[in-house]
Amino acid sequence: MTTDLDQQIGLWRGHVERRRAISARDVDEMEAHLRDQVNDLLAVGLDDDEAFLVAVKRLGNLDAVSQEFAHEHTERLWKQLVTSEEAAPRPSPDLWVAIALAIGAAVVVRLAIALLSPERVALNASVLVLPFVTGYFAYKRRPSGVTVAAVAAAYAGSALVLNLYPFEVDGSTIVIAAGHAAAALWLLGVGVAYAGGRWRSHRRRMDFIRFTGEIIVYYALLALGGGVLVALCAGAFAAADITIDDILAETVLPCGAAGAVVVAAWLVEAKQSVIENIAPVLTKVFTPLTVVMLTAVAAAFIASPDVLEVDRSLLLVMDLILVLVVGLVLYALSARDRSEPPGLFDALQLGLIVLALLVDALVAVAMVGRVAEWGWSANKATALGLNVVLLVNLVWSAWLSWGFLRHRRGITALERWQTSYLTGYAAWAVGVTLVVPPLFGFA
């Protein structure tokens, strides 16, 4: 094959690669096809140009092909949507909708601070802020009336339960209810709206998991930037001998935190390609680090088992570790190229899960004896329950992941398990919000 032809194929490659629904690997595969075809055509007597043109023509209309690719790889679908080739860079109305909703969230939070006690505001935080994120996705996805009604009912129900339950203000059930209601609303409110009502679809669920991971990264970045800005502002005013602590604490911080949730949601949708490069990197960095951390923890527990008997908050820490591990597994899964065969990283991830299970088993054994002695409290019951919920997920994930490493099963099995399990989390969060406070006398 001549250099001229190579050059032409290079140009074709560049042209195809601009279709962002077609990944570089897919282009590799199609280039091999193109070259095979060109060779065959050259062999029957066509010249370079003719062979190239016929081969390209036979591959078909690029728009149609790339649409097929986007259809098959829905995780790339948004690229197809945001990068139609002729689209002019004009500001989209999405931005204005997002800004309006962010301001709405900030105003509602400020009003709540003015009208309610601080504990009530904290308790209702999810009911106050998440409807605005949900509203953004309702605007983007245009779900059916039934979906909108169901989501609205979830918010109304949560608001009623949270505010009609006679919580003791400094009790622990109020904190438990607030946290679990937020988790439930994230899945049943934001999640359902994000999926445009098609919440049964595994792909939509996986997209939502990816969205959740990415919004955490964006929110952390915004919080960091906002924090620096607020600190600088406070410093400047302090230097001028003006105290603005009240304004910061009552207006700037809570309103900023509320508005940032909507802005982060918009960012994830609009600037997906920026973060898409960060997500896999973060997982690749933190999975080995977490393995190291868990090894150290496990070694410490085995070396001096008496540590386990002292600290009552250990169970909570253990839950957080399991949440982190589940998060890493989900994040890695959502950023994974499905067509890649099992590799070293998958083995490392299985190691991570097994280590987490080992540490959890050590803690559980120590705790079971102790719980009887301390008696049950709302915190302990919830922490233990959450531990079981996460444990079930991880045990089965380990099994599926083992099957994948041994080429017995596709990665899809693990994906399906995780996406199906979202229903379990939602049920758990709703159950805890409803049952735990009355069970423990709202203490």
């Binding site: 091999a32 096809h33 078909g60 092909v65 097929e68 067509s339 899809t412």
Partner: protein, 119 residues
């Protein structure tokens, strides 16, 4: 004769799986085999083959691996899996029913030729 594009799409999965039963293969060779088998009458848009192969891979019907040919060309090879064979069996049963039904109807002469021959 041009085969209707819906019919081409419907027959693509059993065709690809059937060809892979003959042995591991790659996109271009699969396309060529279809051309050969249909004596050029089943026209595929070559590019469409790849999204289809990726779908079959996701469903677990085929497994894929990158290999390098003697000419040093990197190619993605596809091989049929157990569940792919099962899916092919199911498709074969379905196609047989469709075939037999149409065959009985048309051979029996119960339909006037104009209904399907005219347009």
């Amino acid at each position: 004769m041009r085969i209707d594009k819906d019919l081409v799409a419907a027959s693509a999965t059993p065709l690809v799986l059937g060809i892979l039963v003959e042995g591991e293969s790659y996109g271009y060779a699969i396309g060529k085999r279809v051309h050969e088998l249909s004596q050029g009458r089943l026209a595929w848009t070559d590019g469409m083959l790849y999204p289809l192969l990726h779908r079959l891979e996701r469903l677990g019907y085929v497994s894929a691996s990158w290999q390098v040919s003697e000419q040093g060309r990197r190619r993605k090879h596809y091989a049929i899996t157990g569940s792919g064979r099962a899916a092919l069996g199911e498709q074969q049963r379905q196609w047989t029913v469709v075939n037999e039904t149409l065959d009985r109807l048309w051979r029996g002469g119960q339909a006037p030729a104009g209904v399907f021959g005219g347009a």
